[in-house]
Symmetry: C2
Subunit: 428 residues, 2 copies
């Protein structure tokens, strides 16, 4: 029987869950993959942390980097996290020393994936990162295998459970951002420092990886990223009245031979599939040819779902299935041109808080008209107590550049109380 010696580096919630899983499921994994997985070594920053797993003394590595040097390690599972520091050192050294690598580290892959991939290809080892994108949703394997036949024109969806939980709770429980966030922390749906989840960075890393896989391109940092911190409860209510939900979506699309990568809150029709995804779920929608539209949905985070993804990568390596990390070899991957979001057109929702006095409306609509942004719908919602009005505007399709100018010019007016909130609309 073939066997594969594994070192798990990083024993937090995910590492511990995986350790246990591999122990309990050794037999079935061996049968399915014709190769025995042996967790030979582990390493963790804090050896003494309480874990409900039994680690033998001889399993502990003295130094985490020993995993890259010891002869009886075939596969290193990196669960340290972060794009720099020990995680980076470990994965680079592992691949250089011809060890297979499985990682859940989206920041590392989004930043160094191209370099790492070249080393892996040169040394004919696997670099697998299913767990880095959307937890248990088998999106990477689907792109690389199940949907391999397809020329993909667009991929989009909900890639962050925390922000989706917050937006859907604000909607359903009629609460504001702060209250929902503090509740999410209590429930374990948001980390103590949730900034990467809320400012869109987490989605951006995942999207960059998906973009490369979908369009056979290298990783690219040209990406528009906007988070959900400035979504007000009133935006959610207004969206509802207009027939929309607000979701934090990531999009990568090929338009006129250019790729647009963007992450931003989006108004999406209430009866659309994406609008129906509530809570911490993730969902990915893929438009491809010949297959048409495919959807994959599932648990996006947590030790259990992440272990499901890690084990699919481990199994692929157990079967001896060496592949290019990004589907194509680095020689064949393309340098496609990535476009600026300012060049794309959107219809948009704008909320402008103004001091209620004569001439304000015509002043504002003039700015729109001067910038050739045509207005589809306008609602003025006076709040008499505060002598302030909310002006809600839905525009026709307009260049993002023009929309940006409108926001900038409107902001400068002395009757405007706060920076206007612009949210792009997607008509799917």
């Amino acid at each position: 029987m073939r066997k594969l010696n594994i070192a798990i580096v990083g024993l937090g919630n995910i590492g511990s869950y995986l350790f246990n899983y591999l122990k309990i499921n050794k037999k079935i994994l061996t049968e399915k993959n014709n190769c025995l997985p042996i967790v030979k070594y582990v390493s963790a920053k804090n050896k003494k942390r309480k874990r409900n797993i039994k680690i033998k003394k001889k399993q502990w590595l003295k130094n985490y980097l020993d995993a890259t040097k010891i002869k009886d390690v075939d596969l290193i599972i990196e669960l340290i996290g972060g794009a720099e520091g020990p995680a980076k050192k470990l994965v680079f050294n592992a691949l250089k020393n011809k060890k297979h690598v499985v990682t859940a580290n989206k920041a590392l892959i989004a930043k160094y994936g191209d370099q790492l991939s070249k080393i892996a290809e040169k040394n004919k080892v696997n670099l697998e990162f299913e767990a880095s994108v959307c937890g248990g949703v088998p999106i990477i394997r689907s792109l690389k295998e199940g949907l391999i036949a397809n020329k993909i024109s667009k991929i989009y969806g909900i890639f962050n459970g925390t922000s989706n939980y917050i937006l859907s709770s604000m909607d359903k429980e009629n609460k504001n951002f702060k209250d929902v966030l503090s509740n999410a922390k209590k429930l374990g749906y948001a980390e103590a420092n949730p900034s990467a989840d809320l400012n869109g960075d987490d989605v951006a890393s995942k999207l960059k990886i998906l973009t490369s896989l979908c369009f056979n391109s290298f990783l690219n940092d040209k990406i528009y990223v906007e988070g959900i911190k400035e979504i007000d409860k009133s935006d959610i209510d207004n969206a509802n009245k207009l027939g929309y939900k607000i979701k934090l979506l990531g999009f990568a699309e090929l338009l006129n031979n250019k790729i647009y990568q963007r992450v931003h809150p989006t108004l999406i029709k209430k009866d659309s599939y994406v609008a129906s995804i509530d809570g911490v779920l993730n969902a990915v929608i893929i438009d491809g040819k010949p297959v048409g539209q495919s959807i994959i949905q599932g648990e996006g985070a947590g030790p259990a779902a992440t272990t499901s993804a890690l084990v699919s990568d481990i199994s692929s390596i157990l079967r001896g299935n060496v592949k290019f990390p990004f589907s194509l070899s680095s020689k064949e991957r393309k340098k496609l041109s990535f476009a600026d979001i300012e060049d794309r057109t959107f219809s948009a929702y704008l909320r402008i808080e103004v001091i209620d006095k004569p001439g304000v409306l015509s002043n504002i609509t003039n700015i729109f008209s001067k910038n050739k942004v045509s207005i589809k719908r306008l609602v003025q919602d006076p709040n008499k107590n505060k002598k302030i009005s909310s002006i809600i505007i839905v525009t026709h399709n307009s260049k993002n550049r023009s929309l940006s100018k409108v926001v900038k010019e409107v902001s400068k007016k002395n009757f405007v109380k706060t920076k206007p909130k612009l949210i792009r609309i997607d008509e799917y």
Copy 2:
């Protein structure tokens, strides 16, 4: 460069589409899989049929079975169809002669998959059948690879586009079964002879295959199958009033160490995910541990979607990824016990058409109570013109056996006009 010689046997809409696809996409497939696919031979029953593809004279096989004998064929793609006759002969002989096989033939795999799998394993060749279940939805590869870590407790969903199109059109367009069916035929959503789609057999074949993959069991013919032919427009209207949609669903589930396989029209809550799937789409929902619930949705039929699935199988073979056809080797697959649907409990909807006369209602409710089926809701809907009433009953959870008895006993009453319609309810 490695290469793989392919013979396509069967050149209907799907075979022709695939032929063209492989010609146009030869380069990218070679790059992704590190192996060149060459369509060396083709065979078709009717050579002269009009096809928009260019076949060289030397590509035509004299006899379709030659594909299994000729030395320069590595992979045979079987697109003949049907569980018996030429398709069966071709695939058995191909595997015996150590040719890889890719097939879209659900009837063949559902019937002979176990035997075929043994031959493939013995001869170390691939037998792949992604295209046999749910067209372009990569469900088989997801079960065998992306979700390999999971112990699956239940798989269910919409596995037949034709019947789903008919049910959702009856609902949305307010038309009866016959009208929608004739329209579906005109639109190409139903075949000239759609009986396998309408009587549940198509779903049953797909479900048997999925059951084996999910539970590591052999194929099993213990399956309850009921189609949609007897769904009346009034059932759809009644379901709506009660907060449900009617869908033809396939279910395989593990309950108390027994597997239940069943295909039947089902009342499912309006706001559930499955209820929202309209038209010819397919959707598969998988409950697994550790991943939780996963959903995969996409185009279930047609040459384009089927080609997407066929090419994922072909690519796997190009990469030299020999695997067990049913995830586990035949030696490791289990003989699980399959249970009779009569032993499972359901809540159910019943429509009973009765002649409107005194005592009818108490007579009927007595039958329910005698069989220990307790009634949750009862609506009597008189149709004065015809002196006939519809009695709509929703039951509490009851043994299927008791529900069957109720139907049988009620049917015998002389005041009952037609066999009562029973539709099981799923509370997801």
